[in-house]
Symmetry: C2
Subunit: 326 residues, 2 copies
Amino acid sequence: MRELVLAARPRGVPQATDFELREAAERAPGDGELLVRNVYVSVDPYMRSRMTGVRTYVDGYELGQPVDGGAVGRVVTSGDPGFREGDWVLSRLGWRDGGIVRAASARRLDPDVAPPSTALGVLGMPGLTAWVGLVDIGRVEAGETIYVSGAAGAVGSAAAQIAKLKGLHVIGSAGTPEKVEWLRSLGIEAFDYRETEAAEALADGIDVYFDNVGGAQLEASLAALRPFGRVVACGAISRYNDERAEPGPRNLFLMVTKRLRLQGFIVSDHDDRYRDFLAEVAPWVRDGSLRYRETIVEGLERAPEAFAGLFRGDNVGKMLVRVGPD
Amino acid sequence: MRELVLAARPRGVPQATDFELREAAERAPGDGELLVRNVYVSVDPYMRSRMTGVRTYVDGYELGQPVDGGAVGRVVTSGDPGFREGDWVLSRLGWRDGGIVRAASARRLDPDVAPPSTALGVLGMPGLTAWVGLVDIGRVEAGETIYVSGAAGAVGSAAAQIAKLKGLHVIGSAGTPEKVEWLRSLGIEAFDYRETEAAEALADGIDVYFDNVGGAQLEASLAALRPFGRVVACGAISRYNDERAEPGPRNLFLMVTKRLRLQGFIVSDHDDRYRDFLAEVAPWVRDGSLRYRETIVEGLERAPEAFAGLFRGDNVGKMLVRVGPD
């Protein structure tokens, strides 16, 4: 089994040469362990900051160590009575062909309930991020208007649709005509931020801004927010590859005059909300009222390329790397 | 009786020529009205934004109209059974020698309980601002560390001391050695922001930042805040005279990684908290555990000068203009 290790700390957009594919030692699982082969491994924007080596809310990746992260795969050999060969599992194995997982840290997935890949997307971390951001951080209410940037991404497309299902008027932005088309087909009022100024698209005002991108979209949203508006500060993908810190919004003082609340959050603080999230959102996914898309890149060796693609906006919906057959 | 009217919209720091002193028409009070002569009139930083003519949370001042605002004075003639000649009252008469006040909008002050001027400061709008900012917006808790910028001002000196009385460790900044000395005499860990970098003064970390000044102090505070920290966005006196919008903090994205909450507020939304505020704070003022200072400029004609002085930091504590004898 192979694994990708961090070979150099990326400067700007990550390059293929920042990673190295190597053979990993193999062993049989011990008691309470599983040997898993991965089918899908996840690339997510938050991984970029772990590559800088600066401790933030998660430990940075060490040079020469495997890039861990979300992965979905199947049990090859089980050393735990709770799992059987062939079971689908969600683990933190990351950018590898597979490896040893502690059974206590694995989650078994039922492929009859939802496609296993959704455990990395709409029913996994990105979906929970969207739901917690709306419900617990933004405290959105039916009838409000919300703007979601990066609305065709994994988190954004879930946030935009969940907001709509909760009775909000939803405006979403994305960076290609194809993405805008998809969002419109979902009933989202969508615009291409490369073609249309956010100030224009948001001219009628918003109550909540779900921020996935930062930068100019945040500044435009501060201007468009109504009194007592909220900013759900989820991510800033436009900024993750900045080599130096760029200035913040020139109109931040509007948070005083408009009594705005800007609040950042990290989904891993909210794992206790997973059941509530699933209870509300899984039925919507099953009955088709909440749609999801996946952009799948084939081959473990292409994980760095898929990852870099997140920052170019190559993905529609969730970006995944397929590393093996079902 | 004279009044000051807005003669021109200030550009940058307000100048004497932006205002004009003129004679006001006089009349006797009708039913439910009071004729009041002012003793103290208030100059407050929030008045600066009203002078730009842009509607924010309060209407802008009209050109050629008197500059209204807080004032404390005495009843000359009462047309209301609830007030007698000689009563001390708080009104919104603003920068005038006096005038007609609706009795329903006046608050009678008992000079035996507290000096009437405190109704414009520690027991008035600035004190309520400090208390609401700490209690309702910052939700401060004993044992936390708070940084208060502009800590020798009317709001800041109340916020710093109330925080200390509530069991917080308090760091405060001000812009002269005299102010720093005063703050230290109150038990505040104070520094002169002209001499010491905030990054250095806050190196041990803070839980809450009570922002009165914006700009560099906000950026340094974002860097110093601990996870789940809060910014009480109260004012930005360093920025009110900017002729163009300056960039915001370069490190605003820390609100995500540290899960910060930044929240703006306007005290007039919280008038319903006045009784609770007074119940907690007035006893501290009476028994001397909460100190206040006033910087008093003599003469209505000097109100513009006193006002401009706020932005130079001329005041220690509350800046007042005395326009008549007690």
